[in-house]
């Protein structure tokens, strides 16, 4: 356990110091949310109807934007080889790194998103369901992104390929994330539960898939 905490701590320090991944993701997120209302026009009712969908899709894309950083640097500087020789299984290493990505990128974005939704005239009563859904769903987003990141490990400019690989996996998160924010109080709880189920499933399966891809690359 101490070993995984050490890894989590190091990845968070690196994310804070290098800034690149998180900064780019946050900047992208903010830019899209500022530009969209200008592009769509000042019609407040249209904006209000589109707001949750725009927020979700921007979140998905921002998470993907920083996904290639999950493993790539550690692969390039040889750290991943040393990690593979530690007494911890590579699955737990992959899980910890996905968690570091969530804590440093997806979670801050998903907490900020509903409040940035004010720019899109987001209805105030769905701010809380949306926050909850995004916090739950964003963990699944980071976990699924780690699969894409591990599969494109030694590809320069693998970002686009990650998107193609991972976006289909994001569909369930998007569907139930959206249904939690329709404003209909009867579907909020079931949607959140299904989102939680998706996150838990990814929690189990994504590290196994990512570790398998990492092993193949380390050979």
């Amino acid at each position: 356990m101490t070993l995984l905490f050490a890894l989590l701590r190091r990845d968070l320090i690196l994310a804070a110091r290098q800034g690149g991944g998180v900064g780019t993701a946050l900047g992208f997120f903010l830019t899209v949310l500022v530009l969209l209302p200008i592009g769509i026009g000042p019609d407040q009712i249209t904006l209000q109807r589109l707001a949750p969908g725009i927020l979700w899709i921007t979140l998905l894309l921002s998470v993907l934007l920083s996904a290639d950083r999950i493993f790539q640097q550690d692969f390039e500087d040889g750290s991943l080889e040393v990690m593979a020789m530690a007494p911890a299984s590579l699955e737990l290493v992959a899980l910890t790194k996905a968690m570091a990505h969530w804590l440093s990128t997806s979670l801050p974005l998903s907490i900020a998103a509903p409040f940035l939704g004010i720019l899109l005239n987001l209805r105030s009563e769905i701010i809380w369901p949306l926050t909850l859904a995004m916090v739950l769903g964003s963990f699944a987003l980071s976990l699924l992104a780690s699969i894409g990141a591990s599969l494109t490990l030694n590809l320069r400019r693998g970002g686009l390929l990650i998107s193609i690989l991972v976006l289909p996996l994001y569909v369930p998160v998007l569907v139930f994330g959206m249904s939690a924010t329709t404003g209909n109080p009867e579907v909020i709880a079931p949607s959140l539960l299904i989102l939680a189920a998706i996150t838990l499933t990814s929690l189990v399966l994504a590290p196994i898939a990512a570790a398998a891809a990492l092993r193949a690359y380390l050979k």
Binding site: I13, E76, S79, E81, V82
Partner: protein, 201 residues
């Protein structure tokens, strides 16, 4: 402790790099790997580090921990330094200490003469200093088997002496070293394995 390779073969990208390699290494012994570029020295070290599966044959480490594979009881110093330029020397070593299971941080820093640079960000270190930081892992976390891939590259004379001292101390304490090298290391090799690059089918 006994590191044994039986009838080892390695295949990379459909090409047999080497085959029919046998050796056995006991406590306190140094195996020197030689051979031209591309003859499979690094590939052999990676197999010993359990980073890949041999296409044929078997690697075993007798007398070690039964629940760990040979790689988990070994240090592998490859061509890359496995250090983060955004962290300081101490932060890098602290991470590897915690991640690989404990050790003496100050001892490791002085063993590679990095103590004066302990709080420097790695981004400011020279290539040789980064190499020493990678070698500090050897002194930091006690592990029985050392797999060294050209450990002396980029080191000046004084640092080479530190490396030799580090290796001699490890051998004296009953450790095993497999080192791939083109130049004599300055430590007497107990065994030699020459990979000629002409793999028999």
């Amino acid at each position: 402790m006994q590191l044994t390779a039986e009838n080892l073969a390695c295949e990379r990208g459909g090409r047999t790099v080497f085959s029919h390699q046998n050796f056995s290494l006991g406590s306190g012994e140094l195996l020197q790997l030689t051979g031209p570029n591309g003859s499979g020295k690094s590939s052999l070290l990676r197999l010993l580090a359990s980073l890949g599966e041999p296409s044929h044959g078997k690697i075993s480490l007798a007398g070690g921990a039964a629940d760990l594979n040979p790689g988990q009881q070994a240090h592998y110093i490859s061509h890359s330094d496995a250090s983060k330029s955004a962290l300081t020397v101490t932060e890098n070593l602290k991470f590897w200490r915690d991640f690989l299971g404990g050790g003496d941080l100050d001892g490791a820093l002085s063993a590679v003469n990095l103590a004066p640079l302990a709080d420097y960000p790695v981004a400011l270190l020279s290539a040789g200093q980064k190499r020493r930081l990678a070698l500090a892992r050897l002194a930091l976390v006690p592990r029985a088997v050392w797999l060294l891939d050209e450990p002396g590259v980029g080191l000046d004379e004084a640092s080479l002496k530190l490396l030799v001292a580090l290796m001699s101390r490890h051998l004296k304490a009953g450790g095993l070293i497999v080192a791939a090298t083109h130049v004599p290391l300055g430590v007497k090799a107990d065994k030699n394995l020459h990979l000629d690059g002409k793999a028999q089918a």
